[in-house]
């Protein structure tokens, strides 16, 4: 957009924004004054209609997750975020190929392969896939543990990682054929609820199976698939073999040319990054960091609770992570935009054997500054919703790549 186009766009934007219809401003001053008085405690509105709405939406969501025995007109199977339609339903009109792994889409014809039982998957157009990432970066953003297959033994780490977050995250992992990097060996979607919904239209082969004893669905193409998120939709033709299952509230979708029993083996081999280190259930936020350290080649020995969360009013979890390079205290925050503005100022100490640091942050993080008094120099980092301190210079250097922001350690 050149300068004059920008000016015109800005003018139009400003004019429209000026006409924005806001709800009437409520009597906030009166409510605040009432809450500042000693008693009674402020005005709290009850909104019973909001709870009724939440209950209704929960019921609707639960119904969508339970497959009906038989629909009156249209049969469908729902597993996680994936819905598979069977029966008298017309698939959506074909639209341009979306570049997710799959056979190239011809406008009117199904793709022809030499061996229909082992259809070729090609990464025909990697351009157009948004959210290219790495395992390390994705581990910090998904909010759920990333699982990787340990089977087949020669699979290795994915060749491409995409993380798309429209509402909630969807992770896509792609493995390419070792002998031909233009062809896709396997893809694995890991989809959180609230991100994308997948609808499949009349797969020619559809059967129920199990993964780790839990219900799973197997489908073989060709069939139309639609990925949708609110008003945004992508469609493509699937010609491969797809296994779908859930674990907790995450939906997994494995697409490959493998037969069913091999695909199930792959699915049952999934393990979280950094799976060997036990993490207390209420320190789950530490898992991406543990995975990150593992991927960086730093062995993590243990994860325990840290008292350092008491420094901050808005900390949600605090862990001490012990590694082969030393230990780090990590405090996790809900809002990285505020916690990333925490400031640390080294202070002079009357005792040369003590090291003092003043910690300050936005008032939504901490209402007043705090001081840390340590027997050794500390290295501080903030970033990605974390506040980290460690006495190990080596560990601090290793963590720099993750937080991107190191605060001065000495006066």
């Amino acid at each position: 957009m050149n300068a004059s186009e920008l000016d015109r766009f800005e003018l139009a934007l400003r004019a429209s924004a000026a006409e924005m219809a806001y709800p009437p401003t409520p009597p906030i001053a009166a409510a605040v004054s009432a809450r500042l008085r000693p008693a009674p405690r402020g005005i709290r509105r009850t909104r019973p209609w909001a709870w009724a709405l939440v209950a209704l939406l929960v019921v609707i969501s639960a119904l969508m997750l339970v497959p009906p025995a038989r629909a009156a007109i249209l049969e469908f199977i729902q597993i996680g975020v994936v819905r598979i339609l069977r029966g008298p339903v017309a698939p959506p009109e074909q639209i341009p190929f979306t570049a997710t792994p799959g056979a190239p889409l011809a406008p009117t014809a199904l793709p022809m392969t030499e061996n229909p039982s082992s259809p070729a998957l090609t990464l025909a157009a990697p351009l157009g896939l948004a959210g290219q990432s790495t395992l390390q970066q994705a581990a910090l953003k998904t909010g759920f543990p990333i699982l990787l297959p340990a089977y087949p033994p020669d699979l290795g780490q994915p060749d491409a990682v995409y993380l798309q977050s429209l509402g909630a995250p969807m992770l896509l992992l792609i493995w390419l054929e070792p002998q031909d990097a233009s062809r896709v060996r396997m893809t694995l979607h890991e989809i959180a609820p609230g991100s994308w919904a997948i609808t499949k239209y009349n797969p020619p082969v559809l059967q129920e199976t199990t993964v780790d004893g839990e219900r799973a669905v197997w489908a073989e193409g060709p069939y139309m698939l639609q990925l949708s998120n609110g008003d945004y939709a992508e469609r493509r033709l699937v010609s491969g073999h797809v296994l779908i299952w859930t674990r907790g509230d995450i939906t997994y979708r494995l697409e490959s040319s493998l037969a069913l029993d091999e695909a199930v083996k792959v699915a049952e081999s999934l393990r979280p990054l950094g799976a060997d280190v036990p993490i207390p259930p209420d320190l789950e936020r530490a898992r991406p960091l543990v995975q990150w350290l593992g991927n960086a080649g730093i062995a993590v020995r243990s994860v325990d609770h840290s008292v350092e969360g008491a420094l901050f009013d808005s900390a949600v979890q605090a862990a001490v992570i012990r590694t082969e390079l030393g230990s780090a205290d990590v405090v996790f925050f809900e809002d990285s935009a505020e916690s990333d503005r925490i400031q640390v100022t080294p202070l002079s100490s009357a005792d040369p054997a003590r090291y003092l640091y003043r910690i300050e942050g936005p008032i939504t993080t901490m209402l007043q500054p705090r001081t840390i008094d340590a027997a050794f120099p500390l290295y501080f980092q903030v970033g990605n919703g974390m506040f980290i301190d460690t006495s190990s210079a080596e560990l601090a250097r290793a963590l720099q790549g993750m937080t991107g922001q190191t605060l001065p350690a000495s006066p």
Partner: protein, 186 residues
């Protein structure tokens, strides 16, 4: 009585001095929260919480600086905290159901109102950082300097963030809201 005097009195514990200050800024704070959250009840909660938290921090407020950007920064932080809560998905479902499609052939006055609503719908497709800078600069009509104050960043950074946000907004409008590009000339 000027605002600085009221703030000094409030900082010393006089709640009655805080009320006129709240009255002066409540509309701007409420509107920013409403833009960020899309729900008037949530916006009211955030606005109340903003003034309560500000009250408790008044002793650390630098009186040489303007109050409104500081309040808006608190409100933006609180609103962003709330957006990331577990209820966000359900709230998005409710908001989505309110986004009714634009009908054709309406009067120009109501078409302008629909343009604003559709514009807001378009802005909400952007990420939180882009939304924030657009709301502050164009919806609340803050200057670049005031916007920089709210965001805690330099004016040059605000300008470059705005430029990128506008480019992304233009793409969203072109792709998903083509009618916004066809405003009748006034």
């Amino acid at each position: 009585m000027d605002e600085a005097t009221l703030i000094r009195q409030a900082a010393s514990g006089d709640a009655s001095a805080w009320e006129p200050v709240v009255l002066t800024h409540q509309e701007a704070v409420f509107r920013l929260a409403y833009l960020l959250l899309g729900d008037p009840d949530d916006a009211e909660d955030v606005a109340q919480e903003t003034f309560l938290r500000a009250w408790h921090s008044l002793r650390r407020f630098d009186l040489s600086r303007p109050l409104r950007p500081w309040l808006l920064r608190i409100a933006a932080n609180l609103a962003n905290n709330r957006r990331r809560s577990a209820g966000r998905y359900l709230a998005a479902l409710v908001r989505g159901s309110r986004e009714t499609p634009v009908a054709s052939g309406v009067e120009e006055a109501s078409a302008q109102r629909m343009d604003s609503q559709q514009l807001w719908n378009a802005v909400r497709r952007l990420d939180a950082s882009d939304q924030q800078v657009i709301y502050l600069r164009y919806f609340l009509d803050l200057s670049v300097a005031e916007t920089a104050n709210v965001l805690g960043t330099a004016q040059g950074t605000v300008k470059s963030r705005l430029s990128r946000a506008l480019e992304r907004l233009r793409l969203v409008i072109g792709r998903d809201f083509p009618m916004l590009g066809e405003r009748p000339s006034s």
